[in-house]
Amino acid sequence: MKTARKTQALVVGGGSFGTALASLLAKNGKPTLLWVRREAQARAINRKHVNADYFPALKLPESLVATSDIAAAVSEAPVLFMAVPSKSFREVARQIGNYLTGEQILIHATKGIEPGTFKRMSEILREETCALKIGAISGPNLAEELMKGFPAGATVASHFDEVVSQAQALYAGSPLRLYGARDVIGTEIGGAFKNIIALMSGAAHGLGFGDNTKALIVTRGLSEMTRYGVALGADPVTFSGLAGIGDLMATCTSPLSRNFKTGNRFARGEKLGDILASSNQVVEGIPTTIAVYQQAKSMGLQLPMVRAVHGAFQEGKKVKELLATLMGRPTGREAERLQTWG
């Protein structure tokens, strides 16, 4: 597990996005560790320089070191990126919390909301670790494109300037441009919420509708995202950036997006259970829909598209009928509704 030079970053989570983040760092000349759960997987990555589970055809940089020894990995790295699914986020956070010190920076890249508690990932990190210098990274970052080195951008948000500048310094010169922000809530909400909209957009695509429909879904989805975010204390301006509209554009239209793909297959008649079982990647939009739906209900927030996605994926309602219901809603004046986030 020893790297030749002093480790500068640890990426926690060997899924597609974690691998992409780590790979970019290593390619950028930053000594990087990638923590994966299974020792055999770590060994395989170190030996073959390939993450066979997610990118069997893509080569990882040789300087990237994988490990399953979380204690040693956490103790070594001044900056940690958390890229684990929201479902296991708390458990992993608690684990790394055993070894973390207040000096370290903790940035997460998980786009979800914890069901039941409605907690954002940064809140979980605060609860499960002693870290205070916490941040969130979010944006249109399809893992495969990042792996191929295509130019991309994301928002890195933290209340601590040091967190933003450290993250920016690590990725400076890489194909991933990081824009700084203070609005952690908005950045996290944008990343989580767009998965719900991607499910709907994918479903519309599956039903054979065209780009006009997808654009309508994305735009009204942005409005709902903003309304929800503002109610939780986000800055509405954040949603006009990479973590908002930027991420919506990529996720709601790209065939590489797992949430879009899930919506697409579901609308074509496949069972949700079968779709999820056939994917080795987590479809965050499904648990996020449940969490947002329940929270919005408890807050008295009107989120018609979230309600429709919940109806389709959780209540067994027909997507086509739900879309028809959405189309039948009163329209009003768009600018006024946007201004009031209504």
């Binding site: 608690r94 919390g97 010190t101 207040g102 002693c130 205070l132 040091e162």
Partner: protein
């Protein structure tokens, strides 16, 4: 503060503020002239004309000097201004009085508070003044607080609703065996005949809150920070001023609170043997509030634009203070002083041995928060965020350790009933007219009381709130009687009264004020 420390403090405060303010030479001139402008404006209303004349002379001289000179001379002018402020703040601190306070005054304080009730005096002669101890209940993490005060410097940060808060804290500190804490008290408190007497004896230094120049605040902050480094325990109310609405603080002024972290980093840099600074949130809970009528009136007059300094409230009237205390003693009313979980300067809980823990109860090396490559350093943006974290933790404990009594519960029942029966009324109309019904049936009041008590007990079981022993039983009859007796014992005009089988509401401003202390729980119609 010891005389030697006091001299060092002036030198150090001047040096620190001057260093901080001269980092950017371009800011020097505007800072001097803005400060002088603010000061001249203040002098226009200064009552002490002799002092005003002398200060005006000083400011004229400084202005002329700043206008004539270059950067170096302006630096000197700024230094003189800072020194003027620093000497004024520290000049008000009396070492002999502070020493006396640690030995003699608490006994006198006890005596005086006891004698405010004639009945009490009689009892006190027989019982050796033990009654006050029964009525002022000290709860929470007292042992831990006491231990930490021996290990490091403690900043005590209580909630604030009355001018009686500082004498109360002074008394309580004495009772648990701690010396008076340094406390920056508004000049207006010293003008008060009764409270001023105590203030002089509570380790208080005088703060002129009419001095609005930011430079003056910087001097106060630097002084507080330096005193912490020297190991003097500090007391301040982070809410900034008394809660006007009756609500528990939901926002804090973080400037002074942040000086704890500043002092901690400096202590680490100097490798002090006991560098630690601990923060102890504290809630002060009365059934009735001495200045309730004035405070809520002020709040409602201009919500959000209320007066920062009130010089003519109930706490300035000896008679009102006597009435208030007599009422409390005659009713055996309890005042709860709750010392919350002590915290480090980052908002993490601390145990009696001074160890910090994360939220999962794991030990933390708190020095790491300010370390980089083994060195301890300042980072303005980072440190302000740490202080924000600390402030958030303090607020959580304020809510959790607020003690709710019968008056607040009954007020909530009446207020929520008023709102539910008059949904179309806005706040001011409801306060003015009282809505469509002047009373509610006793049976309905009891039902609502029972329901609210149930909800509050659920919160109490979850440790989200504390309840006075008047809520121990679920008996709404006794609870209502207790609340009505309290309200009648002090407030000049009827607030809530029972007539036959109905409850009448009169002073809805006070009902609003007292019910504001409760968290958001609606009572179902």
């Amino acid at each position: 503060m010891k005389p030697a420390d006091q001299k060092r403090a002036v030198v150090e405060v001047v040096a620190r503020v001057l260093h901080d303010k001269t980092k950017d030479p371009n800011r020097l001139e505007p800072l001097i002239f803005d400060t002088l402008y603010e000061e001249r404006r203040r002098l226009e209303t200064e009552k002490d004309r002799k002092k005003a004349k002398s200060e005006a002379r000083l400011y004229r001289r400084l202005q002329a000097s700043a206008l004539r000179g270059g950067t170096e001379q302006q630096r000197e002018v700024l230094g003189e201004l800072i020194r003027h402020f620093a000497e004024e703040v520290l000049g008000h601190f009396s070492e002999p009085i502070y020493r006396l306070a640690t030995q003699v005054v608490p006994v006198g304080l006890n005596l005086l508070l006891n004698t405010l009730s004639p009945l009490h005096l009689l009892k006190a002669v027989r019982t050796g003044f033990s009654k006050l101890d029964d009525q002022i209940l000290i709860e929470g993490e007292t042992e831990c607080f006491r231990d930490l005060a021996k290990r490091g410097t403690v900043i005590l940060v209580p909630t604030h609703c009355s001018n009686l808060d500082s004498p109360l804290i002074g008394y309580v500190l004495h009772r648990i065996g701690l010396p008076p804490f340094l406390y920056g008290a508004g000049l207006n408190l010293f003008h008060n005949k009764i409270i001023g007497f105590f203030m002089d004896h509570l380790g208080a230094y005088k703060v002129d809150r009419k001095k609005t120049a930011p430079l003056y605040r910087d001097v106060l902050k630097a002084y507080a920070g330096y005193s912490m480094e020297l190991g003097y325990h500090n007391l301040f109310f982070p809410g900034g001023t008394r809660s006007r609405s009756g609500e528990v603080e939901t926002k804090l002024k973080l400037g002074l609170l942040g000086m704890g972290l500043n002092a901690y980093i400096r202590n680490l840099q100097c490798e002090k043997e006991s560098p630690d600074i601990f923060v102890v949130p504290c809630t002060l809970n009365y059934q009735l509030v001495l200045e309730a009528e004035t405070l809520i009136e002020d709040y409602l007059k201009e919500v959000g634009r209320s007066r920062y300094i009130i010089e003519d409230d109930e706490s300035t009237q000896v008679k009102r203070i006597l009435e208030f205390l007599t009422g409390l003693f005659s009713l055996d009313s309890r005042i709860h002083v709750v010392f919350s979980q002590p915290l480090d300067v980052f908002g993490n809980p601390v145990d009696a041995a001074g160890n910090s823990y994360d939220r999962r109860g794991r030990l933390i090396d708190r020095k790491k928060y300010v370390a980089q490559a083994g060195r301890y350093h300042f980072d303005e943006q980072r440190d302000s965020q740490y202080t924000q974290e600390l402030g958030d933790s303090v607020l959580q404990f304020y809510r959790r350790d607020t003690v709710i009594g019968s008056v607040q519960v009954v007020a909530r029942v009446i207020w929520s009933w008023l709102k539910q029966t008059n949904p179309a009324f806005d706040l001011y109309r409801l306060l003015r007219t009282g809505g469509s019904q002047s009373s509610l049936a006793l049976t309905e009041a009891y039902r609502r009381l029972q329901e609210l008590i149930r909800s509050l007990k659920v919160l109490q079981a979850k440790k989200k709130i504390r309840l006075d022993s008047s809520l121990d039983s679920d008996d709404p009859v006794a609870l209502l009687a207790d609340a009505l007796a309290h309200l009648k014992s002090y407030h000049r005009h009827p607030v809530i009264e029972r007539k036959g089988d109905r409850i009448f509401h009169y002073d809805r401003q006070l009902i609003l004020y007292y019910q504001n202390r409760l968290p958001e729980i609606e009572v179902a119609a």
